[in-house]
């Protein structure tokens, strides 16, 4: 694999843990945890600490699916089976189920290639018949046919095929993406965060009290965040700056550096951008972010720019969907720049409400810039699907993540207690929508049969069939909303620890960077060298509303170099994230 010959990440001062037993002299350069070069074999990473057991979603299968199997990636087969269940050493299944499991790959092969399976014997039969009839006889029969019929038999399918090719929507490709690379001078360890929270006092006399600090301590310890996450420079002050000037400074820092990286990677000039979509939920200045970008990079006068605000943490995928729609009606070969970010500076909550303190602890600085195009030249991914589901029609979902002022008048984001349940429901709705579009025929057939069986024979006898999304996707980028969200999704989708490793590690290293977190996770997968041509990626985003949005990508080319936000830290990952991190 070309990736295993990538240059090793530069050893930087960031990539070391100091030890008090060092005597004199500088510390030796670090070796990775398993003393291997930074492109470890996909299948050898040990599973991460297992998650707590509590089953709240009713539609889960009761038997846990096999975890941490070595994944053999069959590049030769046309069907991409993903994990070979044959190797399942699951001792919990009965012998009957064992046999069924062994038959499963055969079943998948047959159903997924149904047309081929049917056509093969028919073709063989036709060939035998033709051979029996003899070539002379065949020619005689052909001459007997009327010319008009022959012409129609050829012309009609050809015309239909041409019309189909012309009228289908154009494919949209991701040329490349770049994430904001955090700087060590924005780093916030737990202890600093808590100390600041304690020392913040405002003129109005409102202050975060002891109980709130203890609550935040407990939150941070169990949050799954690491000690390297970053907050904007304005938040390093006591009390933090929350004014527009500081907010704009953060935006410029994040967005401009991500776009600079992207322009360098793709070699495109800002004048070639036709469409510009930016999403940032909580900060919407005038002029908008898009105008800021146009001003800074000198873009053309006819750029179609849109700023999406207030759309929550799943807005990144909404922007991708919007950019795709705009690209499909733009002239051929148009380019769209999509920027996803969240501005932390104006949103530091200074009150005492517990439900509103959680975002303070989890949200961190981050952003991503992507270049989409309808031309396949130099593209790295193809956008297969974007599926958006909104559950805002229900009261509980609508009020689940709600920005409001608390009793003392401090503005913050209120997260309701049943967030996980609502997230589960939204995910279910999204799966129902995206399942038929991405799952192979074999899984859909099984799901349909299970559905019918449950309807006909009553719900008790048959458990609902959970389609195995690992037959449809090789990689999963689940929005790193928090440890609980990732645990919940892992359980709901029946994913292994390795599948959600990217999400957990992105949460640990970068915190919850809102809409750009899926891009940090993709960057992790690529930095680990796991992305191969033909791999399919599923990005799932959640956000206020309550929305669950998915995007399915297919890899055309793996990354060419090791540059990215994980450059300096990838050799330290994956880490074992304890239940409670004592700081």
């Amino acid at each position: 694999m070309a990736l295993c010959h990538l240059p090793l990440p530069r050893w930087s001062a960031q990539c070391r843990l100091r030890s008090m037993t060092a005597t004199k002299g500088p510390l030796a350069p670090p070796t990775c945890a398993d003393n291997s070069p930074p492109c470890p074999d996909v299948s050898l990473n040990p599973p991460i600490l297992s998650r707590p057991q509590d089953h709240t979603l009713a539609y889960l299968p009761s038997e846990p699916l096999s975890l941490s199997l070595p994944r053999t990636h069959s590049l030769h087969s046309a069907t991409r089976l993903g994990s070979t269940r044959l190797a399942a050493r699951s001792s919990m299944a009965s012998p009957g189920a064992q046999q069924l499991k062994q038959l499963k790959p055969l079943y998948q092969h047959v159903v997924n290639n149904f047309v081929a399976v049917l056509a093969a014997p028919v073709a063989v039969a036709a060939a035998i018949t033709a051979a029996r009839v003899g070539p002379d006889e065949l020619l005689a029969r052909l001459h007997a046919l009327r010319a008009a019929h022959v012409f129609l038999a050829v012309f009609v399918p050809a015309a239909a095929a041409t019309l189909y090719l012309m009228l289908r929507p154009r494919s949209v490709y991701l040329v490349d993406y770049a994430c904001f690379r955090t700087k060590p001078n924005c780093r916030v360890p737990f202890s600093t965060f808590l100390e600041h929270a304690k020392l913040v006092t405002f003129v109005e006399g409102a202050s975060i009290d002891e109980r709130s600090v203890r609550f935040m301590t407990r939150l941070l310890e169990r949050s799954g965040l690491g000690e390297e996450t970053c907050l904007p420079p304005a938040h390093h002050y006591i009390p933090p700056y929350r004014n527009m000037e500081a907010s704009r400074a953060e935006v410029e820092l994040v967005i401009f550096s991500a776009i600079d990286d992207l322009l360098a990677k793709t070699g495109i000039s800002p004048a070639a951008i036709d469409i510009l979509v930016v999403n940032c939920s909580l900060f919407a200045p005038i002029p908008s972010f898009t105008d800021m970008i146009i001003h800074r990079y000198g873009m053309r006068r006819d750029v179609r720019n849109v700023h999406l605000s207030g759309m929550g943490c799943s807005a990144g995928l909404i922007s991708v969907g919007l950019a795709r729609n705009l690209l499909q009606v733009a002239p051929r070969g148009a380019h769209a720049l999509v920027v996803s970010t969240e501005t932390i500076t104006p949103n530091y909550y200074v009150g005492k409400e517990r439900a509103m303190l959680l975002p303070n602890c989890l949200f961190r600085m981050g952003g991503a810039a992507l270049l989409l195009s309808t031309s396949r030249a130099k593209a790295r991914f193809r956008l297969a699907r974007v599926v958006r589901t909104l559950t805002g029609a229900q009261d509980s979902a609508y009020r689940c993540v709600f920005q409001e002022e608390d009793g003392e008048g401090h503005r913050g984001i209120n997260l309701s207690k049943d967030l996980m349940t609502i997230a589960g429901d939204a995910l279910k709705a999204n799966i129902t929508a995206i399942g038929p579009l991405v799952l192979p025929a074999s899984e859909q057939l099984l799901f349909a049969m299970s559905f019918i069986a449950r309807r006909v024979f009553g719900g008790g006898k048959f458990k609902p069939y959970l389609p195995d999304f690992r037959t449809a996707f090789e990689h999963f980028c689940i929005h790193a909303g928090g440890r609980a969200v990732i645990d919940e999704l892992q359980r709901s989708l029946g994913l292994s620890d390795q599948d959600v490793e990217a999400s957990r590690m992105a949460l640990h290293r970068f915190g919850n960077t809102s809409s750009s977190s899926v891009w940090y996770e993709l960057a992790y997968i690529e930095a680990k060298g796991r992305m191969r041509r033909g791999d399919r990626v599923w990005m799932i985003g959640f956000g206020s509303g309550f929305k669950c949005n998915s995007a399915a990508w297919e890899c055309i080319a793996p990354p060419r170099n090791a540059e990215g936000p994980w450059e300096d830290s990838i050799c330290r990952y994956p880490v074992d994230i304890p239940e409670v991190l004592k700081h």
Binding site: L17, R18, M20, R187, P189, S191, I238, Y241, H583
Partner: protein, 423 residues
């Protein structure tokens, strides 16, 4: 941005804005053990101010320029970014009834940076020689009452109206003596200039365990306490730091009066001893704290000053010859360093038992060059000094004279000024 409605007295330093700087990489679960010598000095705080003159170079020194090198600097000096904790597993202390032994948890909590402004010109400020100006330019917090949240180092950046810059360091003596502190700050300046500084050595010395200690405090120091979590013993009287310059001609005169060749520190310290004895009457014994560069272990953070006392036998120091006192300081100091470290109780070293004379001759304070700009003046004072007072003898800008900072009760300072003007 002023966030509190403070009344700004004309000429006062105002507009304080706090922020924090942390190490740039994760330290991990590391504890820095404090030696007995470190704990002996825990009630004292160094206050050092470096003045940079107005000019193009100083104008280019923004807060960002000052802060950015601090992140890698704290990677090397990560204990300075930690916080004091008490060792809950210290069974021995629990048995004896006093609080458990403190140590430093290297949790990357960081160093506090304070940005402030002053509406006066720096030259005017220096000329005034106001006592107490040091406390305006160094953030005057101490460790406690909440040890968990007390930074060990504050750096105050004060911008004067003329464009001059003052850097005030408030350093807890606990983690290192003045030589360690000065080296630490110089390393930061080296990183700022882009040079790669020498590696720091931070291994703690082998803890000797609980060596047998005497029941009474050594003569050089005064026992106080027991101190709980607020590590300052308020002196009964209002103490202030007063800095003044001892010129080269004065030094030459003192040298000539001495019969044998005597070190500059001894001469200046003897002069101060005599002056204070005249003002106060009866300063028979002094505590002497010396810095011996040759005897240092090479550890980056250590309290390795030599503590001792000198007793003027016979005549009262007020009437004795400066040369005699100087000779006494050179030869007649009884070293009590080990005893001070081994003493288990809480002590005040500076200004506790007697007037304390501190030798900072070998400390390279003028090495803190920012972008090639040397400080135009440096003065080091101290907080947490006992009533007896302390005198710090430091090098001056050109190296030929000496800067002396006297930490004395405010009323004695007036008399000191008068006495010095006469001399």
């Amino acid at each position: 941005m002023v966030y509190e409605q403070e009344e700004v007295l004309p000429g006062a330093v105002h507009g304080h804005r706090l922020s924090t700087v942390v190490p740039s990489s994760v330290t991990g679960e590391v504890d820095y053990a404090l030696s007995d010598a470190d704990l002996a000095f825990k009630l004292h705080y160094l206050r050092g101010v470096y003045y940079y003159p107005p000019g193009d170079v100083t104008r280019g020194i923004t807060t960002k320029v000052i802060k950015d090198p601090m992140f890698p600097w704290l990677d090397d000096y990560f204990p300075v970014a930690g916080r004091v904790r008490r060792d809950a597993a210290d069974v021995a202390a629990a048995g004896e009834g006093h609080p458990p032994r403190p140590y430093i948890k290297c949790n990357d909590c960081g160093v506090r940076i304070v940005e402030a402004k002053c509406d006066r010109d720096m030259a005017e400020w220096l000329r005034d020689e106001a006592p107490g100006r040091l406390s305006q330019l160094c953030y005057d917090k101490v460790l406690g009452p909440e040890l968990f949240f007390s930074p060990l180092l504050y750096v105050q950046i004060t911008n004067f109206k003329c464009g001059g810059l003052a850097l005030g360091f408030s350093w807890a003596h606990l983690i290192g003596d003045v030589a360690s502190a000065a080296t630490c700050f110089n390393k930061w300046a080296q990183i700022l200039s882009g040079k790669k500084p020498e590696p720091t050595v931070l291994t703690p010395e082998n803890m000797p365990g609980h060596s047998p200690a005497s029941a009474t405090a050594p003569r050089s120091v005064k026992q106080v306490g027991p101190i709980e979590d607020h590590w300052i013993v308020p002196a009964g009287r209002d103490m202030a730091c007063y800095s003044f310059h001892v010129t080269e001609p004065t030094l030459k005169k003192l040298q000539q009066q001495a019969a044998v060749a005597t070190g500059t520190f001894e001469l200046v310290a003897a002069l101060m001893w005599q002056t204070v004895a005249k003002i106060r009457g009866g300063v028979e014994t002094v505590t002497v704290v010396k810095n011996d560069a040759a005897a240092r272990s090479g550890r980056a953070l250590a309290n390795e000053m030599k503590v001792g006392y000198a007793e003027a036998s016979g005549s009262s120091p007020a009437k004795a010859d400066v040369a005699e006192l100087a000779a006494l300081l050179a030869k007649g100091v009884v070293d009590e360093t080990a005893a001070v470290a081994a003493f288990p109780g809480d002590v005040l070293v500076y200004g506790g038992a007697h007037l304390t004379l501190v030798d900072m001759e070998q400390v390279d304070v003028y090495g803190l060059e920012i972008r090639g700009q040397r400080p135009v003046h440096v003065e080091y004072g101290m907080d947490g000094v006992g009533e007896e007072g302390a005198v710090l003898v430091q090098p001056d800008a050109d190296g030929r004279g000496r800067t002396v900072t006297a930490v004395l009760p405010r009323d004695e300072i007036e008399s000191l000024r008068a006495a010095l003007q006469d001399a």
